[in-house]
């Protein structure tokens, strides 16, 4: 068990290190996400209260699109120069590779969400309250996005059409996450009573289901897909 956790950590550290060296998420995806916040403001009337009302939805739509970009990048790196073959030979358990990658994705997405939250607060004049609920919604949604994204990211990594295929596969799958996370944020931001926990529950079910499925499916995924 300790050995298994060490494997997960090895992959996690390696992925974060790769990100720190290549700076794709930090240097490109993050600016893209902030840019989208500006685009929404241009498209919608910034003086009315449209932006503030729509903030939860805009926030999560931006997260989803950014997540697709991060996923494409991280799995393109794995498909480089025989690395995938090397991973298969490495002696690492496929499920440990999966869980390690998911953890690395969760870390990257949480950083992105934190920056976006600041951006939303400043640009859209949103005051964050009900922090506890918001954090739990964000955490459970992020794990779900990372887990399902890692499955489909690995699946499309070696395909020539991966750049178009990944969003087509992943975004419909994430529809319930978008619905739940947006509703959860609405409730948190507006201090509405109750309801928030059931959305967190649903997000957790999504996250756990895809974590379990990914852990099982990553072996055939690495070997044959």
């Amino acid at each position: 068990m300790a050995d298994y956790l060490a494997q997960i950590r090895l992959v996690l550290v390696k992925d974060l290190r790769l990100e720190l060296r290549s700076r794709i998420a930090l240097g490109q995806v993050l600016p893209f996400a902030v840019l989208v916040l500006f685009l929404f403001a241009f498209a919608l009337d910034p003086d009315g209260d449209v932006l503030e009302v729509a903030t939860p939805g805009l926030f999560w739509v931006t997260v989803l699109f950014s997540a697709v970009l991060i996923l494409q990048r991280t799995f393109a790196l794995e498909a480089d120069d025989g690395v995938l073959d090397a991973l298969r030979l490495s002696g690492l358990a496929p499920s440990a590779i999966f869980l390690g990658k998911v953890s690395a994705l969760v870390v990257q997405l949480l950083v992105l969400e934190a920056v976006l939250a600041v951006g939303v607060a400043v640009l859209y004049d949103v005051t964050f309250s009900g922090i506890g609920l918001l954090v739990l919604v964000a955490l459970s949604a992020t794990v779900g996005i990372a887990a399902s994204g890692a499955i489909y990211g690995a699946l499309s990594a070696r395909l020539k059409s991966r750049d178009t295929l990944l969003p087509v596969l992943l975004l419909p799958l994430l529809a319930p996450v978008l619905i739940s996370a947006t509703r959860g944020f609405e409730i948190g931001l507006r201090h509405e009573a109750g309801g928030g926990w059931s959305w967190i529950g649903l997000l957790s079910v999504f996250a756990l289901a895809y974590l379990a499925l990914g852990a099982v499916l990553f072996r055939p995924l690495l070997e044959d897909a």
Binding site: L155, L159, L173, P176, S198, L213, L217
Partner: protein
């Protein structure tokens, strides 16, 4: 429907008949046609209008079987996907893929009927009614399955990819259901299913069950044929491949 599902008439006299029909499917096709005709008779003529829905309940007679069959199709795809990853046989791969394609077809029809029903009931083709929304999301999920299926790859790779998507997608079904229910539950309007009179009259019930049964038989008939077409396509691809390898060997020997 009437002329297309008809068995192809007399068995060809040639020793190797052409097509994907067999005695079994011809009988099944005939049964399906009779059931469809009976459904039309009960659904359009004999059964009275609904107390609440009026005549539009007749759209529901088409809606219920298509949506049920679509879900059955996706469950078959999921089971086949799991069986493929376990057994690694072509049968499960082709069954899963055939079933997924039919599921997408029936889901598309479901959404179309839903839109027509919505137009008569709400006056608009699209309302964010929970069941229609769920169907639309799931349709998009499974279109992804077909998109991956269409990417050329060797049989094992393609089958593994498809099987993974088949399993990933089926897990999404209950979650999408719950999410959309809770979401739209906030603005509860008239939904397709909840408006049906639970104490449906006799001939209405007959029409509904007939429609379901007809839908099921038509689905089975289509699935068998789709599976055989998929099987033939694999064999045709094999012989094409053998030809290409042979060609390469010849070229290699001369160069």
């Amino acid at each position: 429907m009437t002329n297309t599902t008809t068995p192809r008439g007399d068995a060809p006299s040639a020793p190797a008949p052409v097509g994907t029909g067999s005695t079994g499917t011809r009988v099944l096709g005939a049964v399906a046609l009779v059931l469809v005709a009976l459904t039309a008779l009960y659904g359009l003529v004999i059964s009275p209008p609904d107390r609440q829905l009026g005549e539009t309940i007749r759209i529901i007679y088409m809606h219920v079987p298509t949506v049920s069959v679509a879900y059955i199709a996706f469950i078959i795809t999921a089971v086949s996907s799991a069986m493929y990853l376990w057994k690694r046989t072509e049968f499960w791969d082709l069954l899963g893929a055939s079933s997924a394609e039919l599921g997408v077809l029936f889901f598309a029809l479901t959404i179309l009927e839903g839109a027509l029903w919505g137009k008569t009931t709400w006056g608009t083709f699209w309302e964010w009614e929970p069941r229609l929304t769920t169907s639309a999301v799931l349709l998009l999920v499974y279109i992804g399955y077909l998109a991956v299926r269409a990417i050329p790859a060797d049989a094992r790779t393609r089958a593994t990819r498809s099987a993974i998507i088949g399993l990933v997608a089926v897990v999404n079904i209950p979650i999408v259901h719950k999410a959309v229910d809770w979401w739209r539950g906030l603005h509860q309007g008239r939904t397709v299913m909840s408006t049906i009179d639970p104490e449906m009259g006799g001939s209405q019930l007959v029409a509904m069950y007939l429609a379901l049964l007809a839908g099921l038989i038509v689905f089975v008939w289509l699935l068998i044929h789709r599976f055989r077409v998929a099987f033939l396509a694999e064999r045709a691809a094999d012989s094409g491949l053998e030809h290409a390898i042979e060609q390469r060997r010849v070229e290699g020997a001369t160069s």
